[in-house]
């Protein structure tokens, strides 16, 4: 005779029944404890911070204690209530419900941990910035110094942009030449392969700043016709392109090697020439493979343009350095950091967009 559960479903047998041993809910104690400790820590830090920034004791109490405790306490109390719920369900032999509640409790505890962790980190950073009567803030983030230097920095940034674009174009083209050069088949091309590899080995190893120094100061001294007449900026472009073409060559090579060899067998078997196989089959697939890492190297190159300060080119960084030396304050230099970060973010989004569009087109969305 089977017992009918209230909902009309069949009631599972009691856990004491040897033949039926339902899996226990996931333990949640450790999660709850950790979440509680971290939430307490975060709230304390918030209170410290308001002590530093806010005067009126009522506002301090509100911003430093009531608000953080309410915000951080919510997911924590949710996690706690779900654990209680799970225990009650288990006792009532609603095993599935008990396990679900425990899992939900864990999720809430994880949310709480993440939230408290972020709040704690931000609070620590803010404490560092505003401590010592705001010494850090005044040194690095002085709004007045930043705005005063900002437009000159932007103007000087044009130099960095020119150098970066020029060097990138050269490095992409020359890097491809190197990458193809080092994998040309057959005995006849052995010297070409050797030369490509030697170039990559050497120029990948030389620090960019040293190369900039050598090229920009060295070439004008040599008085070699044609080579010695250029401007400093052109030399800087050449120097950076020398380094980055070696990086790019390795990138291209990895991109080519990641393509299934069946692709070129098939393309060759159809009667395409080697050049056409490269152009229509290998390079387009490689381009897709390397777009993201290529952007990383390009961003590396953009940042390396600041190294031209060693040869006296007035780029964004060296402009900011002039300001900071006059002001006895580093805020102008912080502004350069912000500018560099700001120009890289759209590039990353753009490459993400390109890749997503390619992916979407391939799957016909």
């Amino acid at each position: 005779m089977k017992v009918q559960a209230p909902e009309g479903r069949e009631a599972p047998p009691a856990p004491s029944d040897i033949s039926f041993a339902p899996a226990r809910p996931l333990p949640t104690t450790a999660y709850l404890t950790a979440a509680a400790i971290l939430a307490l820590l975060a709230a304390t830090l918030c209170y410290q911070l308001t002590a530093l920034l806010v005067t009126g004791s009522a506002t301090r109490l509100l911003l430093g204690a009531v608000l953080p405790i309410a915000a951080l306490g919510w997911p924590l109390s949710l996690a706690y209530r779900r654990t209680r719920q799970s225990q009650q369900d288990w006792a009532a032999r609603r095993y599935v419900e008990a396990r679900t509640a425990a899992a939900n409790s864990r999720n809430a505890a994880i949310t709480s941990l993440g939230l408290s962790g972020c709040v704690a980190i931000v609070a620590v950073l803010a404490l560092m910035v505003f401590t010592n009567d705001g010494a850090v803030q005044k040194t690095f983030f002085n709004g007045e110094y930043m705005t005063r230097s900002f437009f000159d920095i932007l103007r000087a940034l044009w130099i960095n942009v020119q150098i970066a674009l020029g060097a990138q174009v050269l490095a992409m083209v020359f890097g491809l030449v190197l990458a193809i050069g080092r994998q040309l088949p057959g005995r006849g091309f052995r010297p070409v392969r050797a030369l490509s590899i030697a170039y990559i080995d050497v120029f990948r190893g030389i620090p960019s700043v040293v190369l900039i120094y050598l090229v920009c100061y060295g070439l004008p001294l040599t008085e070699v016709p044609f080579l010695s007449g250029g401007s400093l900026i052109v030399y800087a472009i050449v120097a950076l392109a020398m380094t980055y073409s070696a990086y790019n060559a390795e990138l291209y090579r990895a991109g080519i090697e990641s393509i299934n060899p069946g692709q070129s067998s098939a393309a060759l078997s159809m009667g395409l020439t080697q050049t056409d196989v490269m152009r229509f089959v290998i390079l387009p697939q490689m381009a897709r493979n390397i777009a993201a890492p290529m952007l990383s190297t390009f961003i590396g190159l953009q940042k390396d343009t600041a190294l031209v300060i060693v040869v006296g080119i007035i780029d964004a960084f060296s402009q900011a350095k002039i300001y900071s030396a006059n002001d006895f304050n580093l805020s102008a230099v912080t502004a350069v950091c912000i500018v560099f970060v700001l120009i890289t973010i759209p590039q990353t989004r753009f490459v993400d967009y390109l890749l997503a569009r390619n992916g979407a087109r391939k799957t016909g969305v």
């Binding site: 067998s265 060759l268 078997s269 159809m270 009667g271 020439t273 056409d276 897709r288």
Partner: protein
């Protein structure tokens, strides 16, 4: 005009110390379908890949229509336009639509204008039953559909011979039939074919000659009835028994 179209004359192929093909003699007549059978690693794929110069050989020579096509000084591009090959793994170009996969070589080889190539390709796609897939990308197709595109792509160069390397091995059983039907049709059109397959009933039905490869040598060759019904070497008998036990005959 001689009847022989492809001729292997004591062909030897080595990878380093490993001899993969050992003095292979074989002739394929015009309009003939020759099937290579043999255990895995016996050298079937290698033999096919030697015909269109994807592998170079270390001894002997290969002749196509009486002219040597192995060794130095061969115009491989021209050779490959005469001899198409289709692989087990399709190898369609994933970044191109089906149509562009089919028109790339005819256009680049200058055998057709883009417009001609496209109308030829559409006609061929219709023939392989994929008319409405012309603008799809390869990864939107099933394995059988991809393989039919690969065959269409090879046929569009109007090759004089077609090499098929285990073109159904990567396919689910219900897709095998659609590809085999296509091959059957091409064979009845009279194209010269060399193929390797594990589909023994199909090999028996379609081939004019079956060759049994064993460790890089052709141990037996002859009409399918002779090979399948009265094998004379113990190696072939044991191979056929294994096939039978695997339920593939």
């Amino acid at each position: 005009m001689s009847r022989v179209f492809i001729e292997f004359d004591t062909v030897t192929k080595r990878y380093g110390d490993l001899t993969v093909l050992d003095k292979v003699d074989l002739t394929v007549d015009r309009h003939e379908v020759v099937t290579l059978i043999g255990a895995s690693g016996s050298g079937k794929s290698t033999l096919l890949r030697c015909v269109n110069g994807l592998e170079n050989i270390q001894g002997g020579q290969i002749l196509l229509n009486g002219d040597v096509v192995s060794g130095e000084g061969v115009d491989l591009v021209a050779l490959r336009r005469r001899v198409g090959i289709v692989f087990q793994s399709y190898n369609l170009f994933p970044h191109m639509t089906v149509l562009r996969n089919c028109t790339l070589t005819p256009v680049r080889a200058g055998v057709a204008t883009r417009a001609e190539a496209e109308s030829n390709a559409r006609a061929m796609l219709e023939r392989v039953g994929l008319k409405d897939k012309a603008d799809a990308y390869p990864d939107q197709l099933s394995g059988g559909q991809q393989q039919r595109v690969a065959i269409a792509r090879a046929m569009l160069m109007r090759p004089q011979a077609l090499l098929l390397d285990e073109i159904t091995s990567a396919l689910d059983p219900e897709l095998v039939i659609e590809v085999l039907n296509l091959v059957r049709e091409l064979a009845s059109d009279g194209i010269t074919m060399m193929m390797t397959t594990h589909e023994m009933p199909f090999a028996r039905e379609i081939s004019s000659k079956v060759c049994f490869l064993h460790q890089g040598t052709i141990l037996e060759q002859g009409p399918p009835e002779q090979i399948f019904d009265s094998p004379s070497t113990p190696e072939l008998r044991s191979f056929l028994r294994k096939i039978h036990e695997a339920g593939r005959d």
